[in-house]
């Protein structure tokens, strides 16, 4: 509240009026201590230059400026996930079939945005996504492998040419800073070509030999 100059006209033994006390009380009530009500609350200025309470948020959320750029608010829960494939998935690819990799076990899913082998973005923002996929029982005639992180806005690819029979087992890793909009999805695929059949296995084990992880860049 704005203060006015002291009333020097008041005489010695001036009797303080109710209006004086109310003004003082009003000023005290406009203090941060008077506004907050719980541990972790913070106070911020309103358009009228008064104080308003911003209640403490929930874990893994940070204050941010609102869309109108008029106040602070708590943003969405930070996305962070790690999921892996726990069991071998046989007969997935080898003769050109594109297999969407199964991640049936979640280790971290902070914002509950990973389900059915896919990450679904909640907040438009760059995200870091990483995949680590092991394929086994690669058919002897296989000559190429292609691994992707497929997001709604772009496909991130790792392609490998090889001499037939070079690998029986192969592990590929791929990591990118990706552009995602709220509502976008991200999945992982693998395609092996040149083999006599789609007989390759996508490995699964609790040692995370086939895993998918990601987090929002704050």
């Amino acid at each position: 509240m704005p203060y006015t100059a002291p009333n020097n006209a008041r005489a010695t033994a001036y009797l303080v009026t109710a209006a004086n006390w109310n003004e003082l009380a009003s000023d005290i009530l406009e203090s941060m201590v008077a506004k907050v009500t719980a541990a972790g609350d913070i106070a911020q200025a309103t358009a009228a230059n008064a104080l308003a309470r911003l209640a403490i948020g929930t874990p893994f959320r940070a204050p941010r400026v609102n869309a109108a750029a008029t106040a602070l608010e708590y943003g969405a829960t930070f996305s962070a996930f790690l999921a892996y494939n726990s069991v071998d998935d046989v007969n997935q690819t080898g003769n050109g079939a594109v297999a969407t990799v199964d991640f049936n076990t979640e280790v971290i899913d902070q914002a509950a945005d990973f389900a059915s082998d896919a990450f679904t973005c909640r907040v438009t923002n760059p995200h870091v996504l990483s995949m680590h996929v092991q394929v086994a029982s690669i058919p002897a005639g296989a000559t190429s492998m292609s691994f992707t992180i497929t997001t709604s806005n772009r496909t991130y690819r790792k392609a490998i040419a090889m001499v037939a029979g070079t690998f029986g087992t192969f592990t590929a890793s791929l990591s990118h800073l990706v552009d995602m909009d709220a509502g976008d999805t991200a999945t992982v695929t693998v395609a092996i070509s040149g083999g006599a059949g789609n007989t390759a296995t996508i490995s699964g084990d609790s040692d995370l030999r086939t895993a998918f992880s990601g987090f929002i860049v704050a």
Binding site: S144, A161, G183
Partner: protein, 119 residues
Amino acid sequence: MALTTEQREVLAHVVVDPDAWFSHAVATFGAEKAAEFLEAKVARWGPDYEVKKAAGGYKDRAARQAEEDAAAAAKLAAEVAALAEQQAARVADIALVLDVMPTRATKDALARLITGQSA
């Protein structure tokens, strides 16, 4: 809620399947939030769509992705062919070396000549 023509066009500018994108958003976040996300995505990508469309020869994301996939497949096929060629050349080189390598009996005879030993 169905996509408007404009929303579908702008969405198709950035995603391969606009209807699948929106259906997934509705199923995951509910109709209200999905509509909010759709509006934000259209607002974000609309200007880029207009610019690219006005430039002529416009292709939506599905068409661009198909081209990108085909190009990646062609590049990979070329790499496979080059590798196979290198491998064939390497095998031929090894065969040439094997052809001119002395037999064990020849090597033993040469060794005897060098060392002066008799058979």
